[in-house]
């Protein structure tokens, strides 16, 4: 129940910061941080990774890292992050 309260509070914070124009420039990192916190809370406590056998963490966290790395790589290759050295493959 305590975890649920935290999850609820973080969700309220997320929606709150979304509506504050002054935070627009730092909105993305703030939201990513808050979302990651929610993700971690569910994984660690509701999915009991914190207390369970470490293998469960390995088979979840390993693929998760690869998935995030692939996502970042694709965003980079399509020009959404940094530069690949040429123009033209980016959005639009």
């Amino acid at each position: 129940v305590v975890v649920a309260a935290f999850l609820l509070a973080i969700t309220v914070m997320e929606v709150w910061v979304f509506y504050i124009p002054a935070l627009a420039r730092v909105l993305v990192p703030i939201l990513l941080l808050l979302s990651s916190a929610k993700f971690a809370l569910v994984a660690m406590f509701y999915m009991h990774l914190r207390f369970d056998h470490p293998w469960f963490s390995y088979v979840f966290v390993g693929p998760l890292i690869i998935a995030v790395t692939l996502a970042v790589s694709l965003l980079w290759l399509f020009g959404h992050i940094g530069t690949t050295g040429i123009r033209g493959l980016g959005p639009g």
């Binding site: 929606v15 293998w55 390993g62 998935a67 996502a71 694709l74 290759l77 959005p91």
Partner: protein
């Protein structure tokens, strides 16, 4: 008598439902050895079909201006040759090895999920028949085995050619993912007592890494195929530039799968060779730990090299350099393995059997293919060679000269174990030398014609290009390979009829399977051995090599009580038939697809609940025992829980790819409505709250079953399912609202990526609701009780995962617009 064979008087009681006989026995089998044989025979049949397709291609190209085939038939043949060799022959041949050998190598009585194992096979068989059925309708796939968009898109591929291909690959991918999950759980959880990870046979290590790659590489290509399916069936533009899509996305998603696929194919062969060489060199594998780490490193690096297949796209110097670097790095662990194999042979007391000839052939041919592979890692060199026959030479040296020779090494090595008879060595050597000469005559000249400018996939060429002589030699080589295969088939037939008896241990083997009779009994090991050291069996037979302080493993055999054998089942086959009906329905009529989907769901539900019977009733046996305690592996973990976690790991890549595509295409829509015009943050915030609360009720449900309170468990599970339904109603309302606002599936890229991603999440929630409702029903009927709390726990893990996926979607889609 074999080392681990128990005298009849001391054999533990074997509890097994009477096996049906004849054909029914094969249709309902869940025995890993029978399933391994089914995989092997089916895959070899597809291998011969794909080989015949290659021979037809070579007949066409033997002379300039060839007239044997039309251009359209040629396109279909090279597409089906590549598709069949990769998905229907090479991968399933490795699966045959995994199925037959892994439980024997690790001292287990079966795989962790025997019925899922049968399901994987039937899906593979029906998937293979489905793709090949396209020949009968005259609409065989014809866009190449990597199906580059937009060539596979509707405007350029009219008719069901590419539909057969993409539906067939989704079909086969299901089989591969389910099988991989099974092998991983089996190896992690069912090893014999004492067999730590670094005491496992090296083949088991290669199986682990291969199956991790399958679990992580197949979801991205499945998503890529689903996008193609939406483009072709529902008119979206994921890969169509006219609608804002990018064909380059297909290339990325395909090769994110496609390059690990190379290691999925070669690692099993490396594992086989690593078992064969020490046996016939009569010394341990040189640098076992280094080989294990090199295998893991190959698997890891394999995920970071995909774009070297795309240097010609023009990704830019930084991206090209990054992928060139990672591609060259992968040569290091590969080189470690090659040197370790050579060092294993060095100074050994070598017995030159056919299996060893093939293993040595593997090393030589794979090295040649690897060397040309390093050339492709350099972008300037690759640009000269890409799409030429040089590339065809490279991958055939790796996959045919490497993988297939490795598989044959395994067949000659383990055939006596499976059949109790020794393949004829004289015919075996004839097979080896004919194949080695044939493959070199076929594939080596391809380097030359490639460098002379001959592009791959051309169906004919002019006589004045100086390619004629080489092409004739290539065709002669292909025919020699065909003759070699006939020799092999003759050898198998002859051996099955009147081959020399093998006995339990014809090669003085090192691994546990050589300690039991040939062929093994249904339960494999009468008594489960304790493994104190690597190569335990060999040390048992050679006490002089054992060293001080090492016990004789025979003295450490632990009785494990009565043996429970899994009962045969029709449901794996029936569920696979349901999926076949679903796939066929896509080609025939939407109503037929819906009917197929319902059939699949009904069969899957029965499949899932077959073993759950009311308390007090005698349950059918599964997975080595009828009791819940037998689902606990040697690690103390429950197979089912580990299986769900493994599945969730694979799902990370599935949703990761869907979310990545949404982000990549963000801002590329050519027309509105755009996200900021239409997304309703307050509404979805409420939905998100509902889903988060469902995780809380799920946790309370798990706590209730752990406390033994079935009534309270049912109440909380019902509440979770109800909250899931509320979330789904919110999603339906949102979709409906979007459509009324003019945002249909095909309106723009935002719509397509949003509906597919959120729709798949909704489908997962729906599956979760059905799962929980079924549990509530089974709890009420007494078919699930407090002792099976792991079933509720597993459902909970799945539910929470669906929840965390939504946490990511809510932030990345709704809040970061």
């Amino acid at each position: 008598m074999a080392t681990f064979e128990a005298p009849a008087a001391t054999l533990p009681a074997v509890h097994a439902r009477t096996e049906p006989g004849g054909l029914v026995a094969w249709l309902t089998t869940v025995d890993h050895k029978r399933i391994g044989i089914l995989y092997g025979v089916t895959a070899f049949a597809f291998f011969l079909v794909a080989g015949l397709e290659a021979l037809l291609i070579r007949l066409q190209l033997a002379q300039p201006d060839g007239r044997v085939l039309s251009a359209a038939t040629f396109n279909a043949l090279f597409t089906m040759h590549g598709t069949s060799m990769v998905f229907l022959a090479a991968m399933p041949l490795a699966s045959a090895m995994f199925n037959y050998l892994v439980p024997l190598l690790i001292g287990a009585r079966d795989v962790a999920f025997p019925r899922l194992n049968a399901f994987s096979y039937w899906v593979f068989l029906l998937g293979g028949l489905f793709i090949n059925a396209s020949w009968l309708t005259g609409t065989a796939p014809d866009a190449g085995w990597f199906g580059y968009a937009p060539l596979t898109e509707k405007p350029f591929s009219v008719g069901p050619h590419s539909d057969f291909w993409l539906l067939g690959l989704i079909f086969l991918g299901t089989s591969s993912i389910v099988a991989s999950l099974n092998f991983l759980v089996t190896i992690l959880n069912l090893r014999a007592p004492g067999m730590g990870l670094l005491r496992m046979p090296i083949f088991a290590w290669n199986t682990i890494v291969t199956n991790v790659l399958i679990l992580l590489a197949f979801p991205p290509v499945t998503v890529a195929l689903v996008f193609l399916l939406f483009d072709r069936f529902f008119g979206t533009s994921f890969y169509l530039p006219a609608g804002g899509g990018s064909p380059v996305l297909w290339q990325h998603l395909f090769w994110i799968f496609g390059h690990p696929e190379v290691y999925i194919l070669i690692l099993p062969a490396m594992g086989i060779v690593s078992e064969v060489l020490p046996t016939f060199a009569r010394k341990p594998l040189f640098g076992y730990a280094a080989v294990v780490y090199a295998t893991a490193l190959i698997g890891f690096l394999g995920f970071g090299v995909w774009a070297h297949h795309m240097f010609a796209v023009g990704m830019g110097p930084i991206a090209d350099s990054a992928f060139a670097l990672t591609s060259m790095l992968i040569a290091i662990p590969t080189g470690i393995k090659i040197f370790n194999w050579l060092a294993t042979l060095w100074g050994g007391s070598i017995r030159l059997t056919t299996a060893l000839w093939f293993a040595c052939g593997f090393i030589g041919m794979f090295t040649i293919g690897g060397l040309s592979g390093i050339m492709h890692a350099s972008p300037p060199v690759d640009l000269q060679q890409t799409d030429s026959y040089f590339v065809v030479a490279h991958f055939h040296y790796v996959l045919f000269g490497g993988m297939i020779l490795g598989i044959f090494a395994g067949i000659y090595y383990w055939f006596p174990k499976a059949t109790g008879r020794l393949l004829d060595e004289r015919l075996g050597r004839a097979h080896f030398w004919l194949l080695l000469i044939g493959l070199n005559l076929t594939f080596f000249p391809m380097h030359f014609v490639g460098l002379m400018g001959m592009p791959r996939r051309i169906y004919t060429y002019a006589p004045d290009l100086a390619w004629t002589g080489w092409n004739l030699a290539i065709t002669v080589g292909a025919v020699v390979q065909g003759v070699a295969m006939l020799v092999f088939v003759a050898n198998v037939v002859r051996t099955l009829r009147r081959g020399a008896p093998a006995g339990p241990d014809p090669w003085d083997g090192r691994t546990l399977e050589w300690g039991i009779p040939s062929p093994p009994p249904p339960y494999n090991f009468a008594t489960i051995p304790v493994v104190r050291r690597r190569d335990a069996l060999w040390l048992t037979k050679h006490p002089d090599a054992r060293g001080p302080g090492l016990d004789d493993p025979r003295a450490l055999v632990v009785p494990r009580g009565p043996i429970h054998m899994p009962a045969p089942s029709w449901w794996p086959l029936l569920t696979a038939l349901g999926i076949a009906a679903l796939m066929t329905g896509f080609l025939v009529h939407p109503a037929a697809a819906v009917l197929g989907g319902l059939l699949t769901a009904a069969a899957a539900l029965r499949f899932g609940t077959e073993l759950l019977v009311p308390a007090g009733a005698a349950p059918p046996h599964d997975g080595g025992g009828a009791h819940d305690a037998t689902h606990i592996g040697s690690t103390g973990l429950d197979h089912r829980k580990l299986g769900v976690w493994t599945f969730i790991g694979s799902e990370c890549l599935f949703f990761g790819t869907l979310i990545s595509t949404y982000l990549v295409y963000r801002g590329r829509s050519l027309q509105g409505p755009y996200p900021r015009d239409i997304l309703n943050v307050p509404l979805i915030s409420v939905s998100t709250f509902v889903l988060l609360m469902s995780s809380l009720t799920m946790v309370l449900g798990v706590a209730a079953i752990q406390a033994g309170d079935v009534r309270r468990t049912r109440r909380w599970l019902l509440a979770t399912a109800a909250l899931g339904c509320v979330f789904l109603i919110g999603q339906v309302y949102e979709f409906n609202h979007f459509v009324h606002e003019g945002l249909g599936l095909t309106t723009n890229l935002f719509a397509a990526t949003f509906y597919v991603m959120v729709g798949f999440h909704g489908a997962h929630v729906t599956v979760g609701v059905v799962w929980l409702s079924t549990l509530v029903y089974l709890l009420g009927r007494g078919r699930v009780g407090p002792r099976q709390e792991v079933l509720v726990d597993a459902a909970g893990l799945y539910w929470h995962f669906v929840d965390v996926v939504w946490i990511a979607i809510f932030t990345l889609v709704y809040l970061i617009q």
